[in-house]
């Protein structure tokens, strides 16, 4: 199709402006991670005076980054898997059955999406503190407590998105499975889940990304024992020196796995998101 000149100019301008806007912070992050400390303490430079990879080595010693990493992997992974398992069954029920209480449940799940995190943070913190003082189970400062709080955002989103995705899978497939002798659970496991794979992947990516980047709950519910990366990275600046080069190096290292994962699976993410949202 013929492209008019104004359309071409528009395209070039938009792409150029947005590329600069997008790339500059990432560029600063990457180049600053390769600067010696003196570079980031003086006036800013667009290129390191000497390229060094020392920040990538030193960052593990300034703060216990490795243990934050392990905590983040365990907490985000557990929250993702748990909410995915619960959501698969709940979404299947919502998508395939009409029953009393169905709309109450789905309305509740959907409306909690709009609730501010702060609204849940204060009561959960208080409940956790009081469980500890009456029953003696410690939740504040443990990974278990953090996983429970992360479900507050990952579970409703997973249920909502998967239910939308299951709706898009033709019911004829379930029927065919039943004709072949599968029960409802057999139909779910053998037919619906394999067909919903892109949706499952999208939900898993989203849950993991959100949990990996979560700051609000982590800033209250973590102590030295279960500190995640989101809060741990802030601790570089409370040292006597602000090690900006190490902060940038650490930010880069914790970003790479999720960014690569997201960019590789983004097509699934878009498909799953639009199936869940645009109905």
């Amino acid at each position: 199709m013929h492209e008019t000149t104004p359309a071409k100019v528009f395209r070039i301008v938009v792409v150029a402006v947005l590329t600069v806007f997008t790339v500059v912070p990432v560029y600063v992050m990457i180049t600053s991670a390769m600067k010696p400390l003196s570079d980031v303490q003086g006036a800013f430079t667009w290129w390191p005076s000497t390229v060094t990879f020392a920040p990538f080595v030193d960052m593990w010693k300034t703060v216990p980054l490795a243990s934050y990493f392990v905590n983040s992997v365990i907490v985000a992974g557990a929250a993702t898997i748990l909410s995915l398992i619960i959501a698969v069954f709940a979404s299947f029920a919502i998508s395939r059955y009409r029953f009393l209480g169905r709309s109450v449940f789905s309305t509740t799940v959907l409306s909690t999406q709009m609730f501010p995190g702060v609204l849940f943070l204060l009561p959960l913190f208080l409940i956790f503190v009081n469980i500890n003082s009456t029953v003696g189970i410690q939740l504040v400062g443990t990974r278990l407590g953090l996983v429970i709080t992360y479900l507050t955002f990952s579970l409703p989103f997973s249920i909502w998105m998967l239910a939308g995705y299951f709706d898009g899978i033709p019911r004829e497939l379930d029927e065919a499975a039943k004709v072949d002798g599968c029960g409802p659970m057999g139909a779910l496991m053998r037919v619906v889940l394999p067909a919903a794979r892109p949706g499952l992947i999208a939900v898993a990516i989203y849950s993991f990304m959100t949990s990996w980047g979560e700051v609000l709950f982590a800033s209250v519910m973590t102590t030295d024992a279960n500190r995640t990366l989101a809060v741990g990275l802030q601790l570089y600046s409370t040292q006597t020196n602000v090690y900006w080069n190490q902060i940038m190096a650490a930010s880069l290292v914790v970003s790479v796995p999720v960014v690569i994962g997201f960019l590789l699976l983004q097509r699934n993410f878009v498909a799953g998101l639009t199936a869940g949202a645009v109905k």
Binding site: A43, R98, V109, P184, L216, L233, S251, L252, F262, L263
Partner: protein, 324 residues
């Protein structure tokens, strides 16, 4: 068919089955409940119980002395609410200011993010060399863990060692003193730009998916009729992506209004008044002064406001789509 309740759901309105004579429960009626049970238990634990606890807390004088022993906290009735809404008092005035700043923040961030996302989606609608790469590149801010991107901005916005001041004053050679970006009134501009940087790729992602569902022939037919690109955008693209827009704008509004991460990572505990967004404000009001009752009352007020806005938004849109 074993389970008669297992009638397939569909987008058509449910068959009016309520008035039929009562039938015996078919076998398998419990199955959806069993499937739902774990989710219901977790919803109770993570949402329903905390929410009612939060509402109850908002009527208590829940200060530091009572946090580990909430049963002893005295009931104060609506005092937390009247203090929060007394705009002549210090607490109420600060809350009102934070609320107004958050409103301005939300309008700017959602509006500009939508415009940028739409511009990028339209610019990338047609095939050109390097399109796939550009699209992936645009998604990077959204794919980065929230705090990582914001920390990079925090470094760029430092007064003496940051890239922003270096670019404006050293590279462009504009005279004058380098300003603080994270302290004082500039903090508002800083938090808006950083929030847009993070949010616009999401708008781009959703709008692009919406644009791809528009068939090419519609554009070709309108081009034959002599429609210019802008006219095509207004008369074809915009109406066709309306379902996406409805969800997108509501979701972006809720995320932005509740945004805690951007101010928290950008400012730490030194909250400048100009960047004091409402979630951050409530958090600080609760955890710096350890007055949980007051924090809970403010959260409930925030929730009521969000429910009101979302309710009006959805009912206006639904009425319009019925009329159409």
């Amino acid at each position: 068919m074993t389970a008669a309740t297992a009638t397939p759901t569909s987008n058509k309105p449910a068959t009016p089955g309520a008035k039929k004579p009562r039938r015996p429960r078919p076998s398998g009626w419990w199955l959806p409940y069993a499937l739902l049970a774990p989710a219901v238990v977790f919803e109770l634990v993570i949402h329903v119980i905390p929410m009612f606890t939060g509402i109850w807390m908002s009527f208590l004088k829940l200060t530091k002395a009572f946090i580990a022993n909430w049963g002893k906290a005295p009931v104060t009735g609506i005092k937390n609410y009247s203090v929060a809404l007394d705009f002549n008092g210090a607490v109420g005035a600060a809350l009102l200011q934070s609320f107004l700043i958050t409103c301005a923040f939300t309008v700017l961030v959602v509006g500009i993010s939508w415009i940028l996302g739409m511009a990028a989606a339209v610019a990338l609608q047609k095939e050109f060399w390097g399109r796939g790469f550009i699209r992936t590149l645009f998604l990077v801010p959204y794919a980065l863990p929230m705090y990582a991107g914001i920390i990079a901005w925090k470094f760029m916005l430092q007064k003496d060692t940051g890239a922003v001041n270096h670019f404006i004053f050293d590279n462009l050679g504009i005279g004058g003193d380098k300003p603080f970006w994270l302290i004082g009134n500039n903090a508002f501009a800083a938090v808006v730009v950083v929030a847009i940087w993070r949010l616009w790729p999401f708008a781009f992602l959703m709008l692009m998916a919406g644009l791809q569902s528009i068939p090419h022939d519609v554009y070709e037919a309108s081009a034959v009729d002599g429609a210019k690109p802008f006219r095509q955008w207004r008369s074809i693209t915009l109406p066709m992506v309306r379902p996406v827009n409805m969800v997108l704008i509501l979701v972006m509004f809720l995320w932005t209004f509740n945004d805690f991460n951007t101010p928290f990572v950008l400012f730490g505990n030194a909250q400048p008044p100009a960047g004091d967004l409402i979630s951050f404000h409530i958090y600080n009001a609760s955890f710096l002064t350890w007055n949980f009752g007051s924090g809970a009352a403010m959260s409930v007020l925030l929730l009521l406001f969000l429910l009101l806005v979302s309710g009006i938004y959805l009912s206006v849109l639904n009425r319009r789509s019925h009329r159409a």
